[in-house]
């Protein structure tokens, strides 16, 4: 029959509330650098899959509700007019609906749990923790309750309709709720196809959680900050004393000091300093750099980056490799990229 609208638009609130996840993810972005992008991408992806899964869940639930109400109506009529009760009708569809609904409920729970894990595990707990945690917890509880409600709905419909049969003729479309869009058996079955798509997508989405696992919050690598001894101990030219331990050359010229990365910008080999030819030459693909770090030959796409170099309180050089200056971005003029020092 003609479809009528009811308050279905309210249900869109549920998918919308899934947007909380990206919001939470963005709040997560200035965490330890390893976690930010991944948790953002994963969570965005999860949220999208979650929306899809929840929407199908919602459709399923609406259908079940329709069947439920219809069956109640039919039962009333059957009792009133003593009509013969048709036992088999709708049973198959209902069992499918029940299974699916349960599946999606569990899945939604799983996804939410996964998203919760991601967001909390990568979290810097000094940052805005109260709000983010509250939002997540609220969302998780909300979705969990919804899922449980769906399970209850499915169970009750199955109980009331399949085991306490209702009346309606074989093949006749089951009409929707008064005030709701019609859901026929056929349209429900085609919905099943989409449900499988959503199920697969959601499962895949949930599996991407594993990606986060590959970004540890702590790595056991050498510290990026080190003291380089007193400036007087350096002669004019390239000094290789920290090449092994910190992958860094400290170069002194008439004006002062700068610290160059020893990682070739082409593919990460370690170039050699050739004193006679006054250049850094990479053995892997032949890239050459001037003593300034600027590339002039071979496949290197850009100059070697410089590290932050300052004088520590005790008069020693202090190199911070976590701060890099790239020539092609015009950063070699910034303070910290060069240490003025005249003997």
């Amino acid at each position: 029959m003609a479809s009528r609208r009811n308050g279905a638009h309210r249900f869109f609130l549920f998918p919308l509330s899934a947007l909380l996840f990206p919001a939470a993810a963005l709040a997560d972005t200035d965490l330890s650098e390893a976690s930010s992008i991944v948790s953002t991408i994963i969570t965005l992806g999860l949220a999208a899959f979650g929306v899809l899964a929840l929407y199908v869940l919602f459709l399923t639930g609406r259908f079940l509700l329709a069947v439920f109400k219809e069956s109640m109506q039919a039962r009333k009529e059957a009792q009133a007019h003593a009509v013969h009760v048709e036992k088999e009708a709708g049973k198959t569809v209902l069992s499918a609906a029940f299974g699916l609904s349960a599946l999606f409920s569990l899945l939604a729970l799983l996804i939410l749990f996964a998203a919760f894990l991601i967001l909390t595990s990568g979290m810097d707990f000094s940052f805005n923790i109260g709000l983010v945690k509250f939002v997540i917890s609220a969302a998780v509880s909300g979705f969990a309750l919804l899922s449980l409600y769906m399970v209850y709905l499915a169970l009750s419909v199955l109980w009331k309709v399949a085991f306490k049969p209702a009346v309606h003729a074989e093949g006749e479309p089951m009409e929707g709720l008064p005030g709701g869009p019609a859901v026929t058996r056929r349209s429900f079955l085609s919905l099943l196809g989409w449900a499988w798509v959503a199920f697969t997508a959601a499962s895949m989405g949930a599996l991407t959680t594993v990606l986060r696992f590959f970004f540890p919050n702590v790595t056991f690598e050498p510290p990026t900050k080190f003291k380089g001894g007193l400036p007087e101990t350096y002669a004019i030219g390239v000094d290789e004393r920290f090449k092994d331990a910190y992958r860094c050359w400290i170069v002194r010229n008439n004006q002062g000091f700068y610290a160059l990365s020893t990682i070739c910008t082409h593919l990460g080999c370690t170039p050699n300093w050739l004193q006679a030819e006054q250049k850094f030459k990479c053995p892997c693909h032949g890239s050459g750099y001037y003593i300034t770090g600027v590339n002039f030959e071979g496949p290197a796409p850009r100059p070697l980056p410089r590290f932050n170099i300052t004088l520590a309180d005790d008069g020693q050089l202090l190199v911070d490799e976590s701060v890099q200056y790239q020539q092609e971005l015009g950063q070699w003029g910034l303070p910290g990229s060069f240490l003025d020092y005249k003997a």
Binding site: T270, C282, G288, F296, G298
Partner: protein
């Protein structure tokens, strides 16, 4: 003797090597009727073996060839050579039969069925035994390589990828890592997967033939032999310290100086071509790289339709294949051709990048 060695060395450089392998490929296809005759093929094999034995007298060549990790390359090269012969031999024989209206050789026995046990199982069994013994002998004779313990402090010179990736490493000379290391390998994989969906020619399924499916075999063989196997050979034997090019009998001199000063297209355009205007390189990277971007755009977007319109052959192809298949085919073909084109540009005008925006790591 020294004179010959010097001549051979001087004959080798990337340009002659590439064109040599290209000419070799064309000759191989063109004269397939001749060299697939077992008599001539044996003579060629004999010649190659004799040349190899002679080459082994050269200390440097022997050192590289007998490096244990390079031994598989000989097996691979001879294997590919032999099986190229075997397949072309059968293709030539079948093509002759097909030309006379006879069915291919395989047809004679394909309708007869044999029991898997013992006919197939025993073939597999014997092949396994032979391969097992060969592997055992190989392992007994040759130690797996082991250099000194790993350290980040210094890089051995030259540093090479595993041999099966040397074709990719050679591409790195001409293209930036994001293309040579990521995009092109992905395109190779996707391109290989696309083959059955692009090649809609129903002929030539289940038997060796060349004439019936030329346009499938030619690009595949070009990619496999010229752009893959021969570049692996080049990467192993002709690339030395500093990734410089050396002749096969040339000592690997650590201090060989090769001028590698390559120039970007933007510099050619703004400084050399428009130098008289005195504007120099524009600061804005988008304006600076406009000529290069337009060129790339023209190559990938404008050139294919234009060529298709001009060529009756391509037009026929388009009609037979449909737009989607044809577009994929052309895109893959143009991507494959991008490597030789960049090689030529590098050799002829020392071009470094067509588009160079190092600010966002975008170099082509």
């Amino acid at each position: 003797m020294h004179f010959i060695v010097d001549v051979i060395n001087s004959l080798f450089n990337p340009v002659t090597y590439f064109f040599g392998s290209l000419i070799g490929f064309v000759a191989m296809i063109h004269y397939r009727e001749k060299w697939t005759e077992p008599q001539l093929a044996l003579k060629i094999l004999g010649g190659v073996v004799v040349a190899l034995i002679l080459a082994m007298f050269n200390d440097h060549f022997r050192d590289i060839s007998t490096k244990s990790d390079n031994v598989p390359i000989f097996i691979m090269v001879f294997g590919v050579g032999f099986f190229t012969w075997l397949s072309f031999r059968q293709a030539v024989v079948n093509d002759r039969r097909l030309a006379q209206g006879q069915p291919p050789v395989e047809k004679e026995t394909s309708d007869k069925k044999v029991y898997v046990w013992p006919d197939l199982v025993y073939v597999e069994f014997i092949a396994t035994i032979v391969a097992g013994i060969a592997l055992l002998v190989w392992s007994l004779c040759l130690h797996a390589p082991l250099e000194e313990s790993a350290t980040q402090a210094w890089t051995p010179n030259p540093s090479k990828a595993p041999w099966y990736f040397l074709g990719l490493q050679e591409m790195l000379v001409y293209y930036d890592p994001w293309l040579a290391g990521v995009v092109f390998p992905s395109l190779i994989v996707v391109g290989l997967m696309a083959i059955p969906y692009i090649d809609k020619n129903p002929k030539g399924a289940g038997y060796y033939t060349f004439n019936e499916r030329k346009f499938a075999i030619l690009p595949f063989m070009f990619g496999f032999l010229v752009l893959w196997v021969s570049l692996i050979f080049l990467g192993t034997f002709l690339r030395g310290p500093g990734w410089n090019f050396f002749g096969p009998f040339e000592e690997w001199d650590l201090h060989k100086v090769v001028v590698l000063n390559n120039v970007n297209l933007s510099e050619y355009f703004w400084v050399k071509l428009l130098g008289f205007l005195g504007i120099g390189l524009p600061h804005n990277p988008i304006i600076r790289e406009l000529p290069g971007s337009l060129l790339i755009g023209a190559y990938l977007i404008a050139l294919p339709p234009w060529l298709t319109k001009k060529s009756a052959f391509l037009m026929g192809l388009l009609e037979r294949m449909g737009v989607a298949r044809y577009a994929v085919l052309i895109f893959l073909a143009f991507s494959m051709a991008a490597l030789p084109i960049k090689m030529l540009l590098r050799w002829s005008i020392h071009l470094k990048y067509i588009v160079a925006i190092p600010e966002v790591f975008f170099n082509i």
